[in-house]
Subunit: 459 residues, 2 copies
């Protein structure tokens, strides 16, 4: 009974499935629909029923047979798909949902100089790896990360960042959020107090709150983050190379004090070394982790800045005596980065492109920052002053008028297609108004001048 009824109305089921998909705009004019044979198998119906359903759709003009090209949604449908359903939402991290774009905006933070990335070298290498896909590359990658990549990262950190570590101490993650979640889960308990820099990167506080930890603001001064006064702070997230956003480097004396504090207080230091490679003046600074003789520092690195963000690949380095604790959580916190992605990064490092690229970028960013600072001073010197900075990938423009509302200005700029972040939104206290913006993708003085004039017109 059930079966014969099924058969009786089977063509209607077919009709409904295709018809709905077209009306809802999921299937668009010109797009191919399954062959009657394939759909019959999928739906467990006879081919005849599917053909009957298709015939009805054809007679109503929804689909048309295109010979070799298969059956397709008609090009000249009277009903147009609803426009709102026609769009697929896109959003980059850090943007509010009401501004959706895949394009990079001028001054956008956190994006390396994409025009200077050796993407032909990368593309050739990635294509070679992809072509060599074999059965071995199809199964689960190691939950800790590709062994060769962990070794290459350990070598890089030992030689170039002064961080003594074994490859087993390196774990691959899918970005900063993943890194911080894994670290805090391994080391902290619910409701623990975790120090964050003030001013500081707003996302860090969000992640901690979401993990049900209690963020505590720790002030930043001219030597970087200060030593926490509250004894209950169990961990402190710091950006020693160029403090985010002030770009101050943590002084050597302060580094030592911080390590002593962590050892004495039995607390952890989470070193976010997001752009430590890029220093414009003075000596390069090794990572804070390189001074960590008492195993209190967990190092967080990323390929988003030194390669490119589309990779979604980062890593953490944990002290030797914590390796097994991090391994135990790997099923629940592993970065889950596709093997091909990890292999490409490994090859790029192995063949020497990685360190060469960093050296080139260091020069380029120095140059781009220099002309940007010069031109901003020249055109906007009456409104804004530019903080001198030893390194990093962004600039801070402080308004000369302390009563400016930097949040309003940043919003206004964003709606005119210019990116910036309001300094006051990175701080817990009332702060001198300013804008944080990136110079990394400004290629020429002419481009920079044009952008500054656009910005000036909006102030």
């Amino acid at each position: 009974m059930q079966k014969s009824q099924n058969k009786l109305f089977a063509y209607k089921l077919v009709y409904k499935r295709i018809h709905t998909a077209i009306l809802e705009g999921v299937l668009k004019p010109g797009e191919r629909i399954p062959s009657a044979r394939a759909l019959a198998k999928e739906m467990g119906l006879s081919r005849g029923s599917v053909e009957e359903g298709y015939a009805l759709l054809k007679s109503e003009g929804f689909i048309e047979a295109k010979g070799q090209a298969g059956t397709r949604v008609s090009q000249n449908l009277i009903e147009q798909p609803k426009p709102s359903l026609n769009e697929v939402t896109v959003r980059q991290p850090g943007f509010t949902t009401d501004l959706q774009t895949t394009d990079i905006l001028p001054f956008q933070l956190g994006i390396p100089a994409l025009d200077a990335f050796p993407f032909k070298t990368w593309a050739r290498m990635a294509a070679r790896n992809a072509r060599n896909t074999a059965i071995d590359n199809l199964t689960y990658p190691s939950v800790y990360g590709l062994p060769e990549l962990r070794l290459a990262i350990a070598q890089y950190l030992n030689l170039y960042r002064g961080v003594q570590c074994q490859p087993t101490q390196v774990f691959i993650t899918s970005g900063y959020v993943n890194s911080i979640k894994w670290i805090t889960k391994a080391l902290l308990s619910p409701d623990d107090k975790v120090g964050v820099e003030d001013p500081g990167y707003p996302l860090t506080k969000l992640i901690l709150e979401n993990e049900r930890l209690t963020p505590a603001f720790v002030p930043v001064d001219g030597s970087g983050v200060t030593i926490p006064k509250e004894r209950e702070i169990k961990a402190l997230v710091v950006t020693p190379a160029h403090q985010s956003p002030t770009c101050v480097s943590l002084s050597l004396q302060r580094r030592q004090m911080l390590l002593d504090w962590a050892a004495g207080n039995d607390s952890w230091i989470i070193e976010d070394d997001y752009d430590g490679e890029y220093r414009h003046t003075g000596l390069p600074l090794p990572a804070l982790k390189s001074l960590d003789t008492q195993d209190r520092v967990i190092y967080s690195g990323t390929f988003s800045k030194v390669l490119f963000p589309n990779l979604r690949t980062a890593y953490i380095v944990v002290p030797q005596n914590l390796v097994s604790r991090f391994e135990q959580l790997s099923d629940l916190y592993a970065g889950n980065v596709a093997g091909l992605t990890q292999l490409c990064i490994f090859n790029f490092m192995q063949e020497g492109h990685f360190t060469r690229h960093i050296q080139r970028m260091r020069k380029l960013y120095r140059k781009r920052r220099e002309f940007a600072a010069k031109l901003f001073a020249q055109y906007l010197g009456n409104n804004l002053s530019i903080e001198p900075q030893p390194g990093g990938m962004h600039m801070i423009l402080k308004f000369n008028d302390p009563s400016c509302n930097d949040v309003e200005i940043a919003n206004k700029l964003l709606h005119e297609g210019l990116y910036s972040q309001a300094l006051s939104q990175w701080s817990s206290k009332k702060t001198h108004p300013g804008l944080i913006l990136s110079f990394t993708n400004i290629k020429t003085e002419e481009e920079c001048t044009a952008l500054i004039l656009r910005l000036k017109a909006l102030l």
Copy 2:
């Protein structure tokens, strides 16, 4: 003063950095070390100081100049790197840490038939995408997922799984763990009770506990999961296509009862459709989500089974009225899958390889399951009986002797290189002992017979 002191001992810093990396086994014999010029820049030292350090390392035999090939760690080092440091740990998900391997073991669960994957087609397509890398592919991918891929998944689900959804309802994740974390964070509160199937996939319970939710066991019978009796259950994670591990399909009547329960109790159903495509007998079943007229079902799909696990790519489909709630959490829960990976999956779907591959695999699994069941019965019929199953990618072998200790047997098999999981470890209650094992990668009857004889010798 500081500076002259630095200069005085600079060569020692260079010596120490390289020397330590060699002694610790991070730099291995034959591996290249940075040029004196590059290291001088990185460490902020004069080139002379680095050359002095290198000279000392050479005189002690640690490094040697190799002309064009650069300076390298000596091949004939007297000190050998410590063996334990020489290894980089690898582990697949689901393995205990004391069994570390990158190889797939016979009977290993959750791995599709890798020999039958069209990897030449895949490799060609992936290579083409990699070669076409351009500036546009370097920036952050949309936090929701690649728009084209979300659309392709929506089309696939509408046409082939009967799930009516818009592309905006589809979010890309980096696997099942990521999916469950995002869903539970969006819909549940701390300590909420969440139903899990009993017997059921052990990882689900682990994820929920780790997210500080309270798992509650809900019994499975011959029609699939039963209707929860506890009113406080706020969500239920189910595997309707082939219950994991029993492979029972949730009956149509039970599906309706479950949806009614969810609507009446204001609870959520999380449908884990991990292998819904693979049904061996009877009619294909559309997803439970296809009956969800009251928006209570969140659908969780994955590419690990229908393509391959190395991709680390999965997705969720959420009801229309929950889209913005999931979007709001995307910065903290986005899958962070590299753009190239998403583009490859999209192309594979777009060009029709995806549905063709699924159809081929359905036939292949039916065949492989049939001969495996036949041969197991033939050789092990006295010890074991095989449950008939309508679909899925694994078999259940029940021991005829109810006093068998399946955990001990599974451990013994694993140490002899044969994978299986003990049925009793997937259940909260004392259960009839059995083994869960996969047949997907057993290519021939001969191979199957050889494996069964190896297994038989260990029982």
